[in-house]
């Protein structure tokens, strides 16, 4: 049986299998069709219906279940919904167990939430460092401009204020006002 205890492990392995089978396109389709439109349809329906309050309900519940030691911080405002991951539970599982069957596990989050948020009318600012730390800001699709300054939304909980947050942008995957997992900034 495939279990839920080590879900992140076989989920990540599945990305590699899909890429072997159908190239990067099949991985993107897997994240959008299987995860966004099927598995996580409860999140999709909630956020399309309620917007930022729906994001708070969904991520507030699911992150508490996945990360009861609170390796994350949620900052909900009327104009932006922000999450700072100081210890991502799923990336942490892979790192602790030495699992790597796909070149960038972290891409899966933008892979399914990007299309989901587009359908709900939101765009995403995001950076991840591949080591279990990342941040997300979701704003209405009409939002423009670059990333908000560190600390301006989440205060001292902003993951970018950590001493181990990379200062070299080349060590980060960065997205600005987008929904496309392939729309990484150079």
């Amino acid at each position: 049986m495939i279990g839920c205890y080590d879900f992140c492990g076989h989920y990540e392995w599945t990305f590699g299998w899909c890429e072997r089978e159908g190239g990067p396109a099949l991985v993107r389709e897997y994240w959008d069709e299987a995860i966004n439109h099927d598995s996580q349809r409860h999140a999709r329906d909630l956020i399309r219906r309620e917007g930022i309050p729906g994001m708070l309900k969904y991520w507030g519940h699911t992150l508490l279940e996945e990360s009861p030691d609170l390796g994350f911080r949620i900052t909900p405002r009327a104009d932006v919904f922000r999450i700072d991951f100081h210890a991502c539970p799923s990336r942490g599982f892979l790192l602790r167990n030495g699992l790597k069957h796909y070149h960038d596990y972290c891409d899966h989050c933008m892979g399914w939430t990007g299309p989901m948020l587009r359908e709900a009318g939101y765009v995403v600012d995001h950076e991840h460092n591949h080591a279990g730390q990342c941040w997300w800001e979701m704003r209405p699709a009409a939002a423009t401009g670059g990333h908000a300054a560190p600390g301006s939304v989440a205060g001292d909980q902003d993951v970018r204020l950590r001493p181990d947050w990379p200062q070299d942008p080349a060590q980060l995957d960065r997205y600005t006002k987008t929904n496309d997992p392939d729309d990484k900034m150079a």
């Binding site: 279990g3 205890y5 299998w17």
Partner: protein, 170 residues
């Protein structure tokens, strides 16, 4: 001080049990692969996962024999929320009797459309893992209650009859 006892599970988390909502993703993954690659592609996916992702536990089984198999399944189901399972070790086989399948229980509670072939995954995956460990695997039942048998080849189990694996009812 005694040395730490190695886990029967190849990959371990900081939580004692997994998050049951992940069963939604497993069911959705099966649906996606069945639609895109058909039953043969889905079987290929599960067999490859059994050989590759589960290689560490297959090695534990090959080295530790049926005792390692029984230890693994006890630890596995202890980490799956809602599972009700008995594991019996006999001289030539281990029987894993699932009284309540945690995945089907949660998928039903969540009102999810379960792929009818769902229960076959335990056979395709389990048989590939057993083969890698020099064992055989058979499955009977399904739709929430089933019996997995892992045996030494000398046990002479009859070939798997796929008709013995129940489809999931809507």
């Amino acid at each position: 001080m005694n040395p730490p006892v190695p886990s029967a599970l190849p990959y371990t988390d900081t939580k004692p049990q997994g998050s049951a909502d992940f069963y939604y993703a497993t069911n959705a993954t099966f649906r996606f692969i069945l639609q895109r690659r058909g039953p043969d592609g889905w079987r290929r996916y599960l067999e490859a996962m059994g050989r590759e992702y589960f290689a560490p536990v297959n090695r534990q089984w090959a080295q530790g024999g049926l005792a390692a198999v029984a230890r693994y399944w006890r630890a596995f189901f202890a980490a799956e929320p809602g599972a009700e399972v008995d594991v019996e070790e006999r001289p030539d086989r281990v029987e894993v009797r699932v009284r309540v399948c945690p995945a089907l229980r949660h998928l039903r509670a969540g009102g999810r459309e379960i792929v009818p072939e769902f229960c076959q995954h335990c056979h395709w995956l389990g048989a590939a893992r057993a083969e890698a460990a020099g064992l055989t695997m058979r499955l009977s039942g399904g739709d929430g209650r089933c019996c997995h048998t892992y045996a030494r080849p000398a046990a002479g189990l009859a070939p798997q009859d796929l008709g013995q694996i129940t489809e999931v009812r809507p």
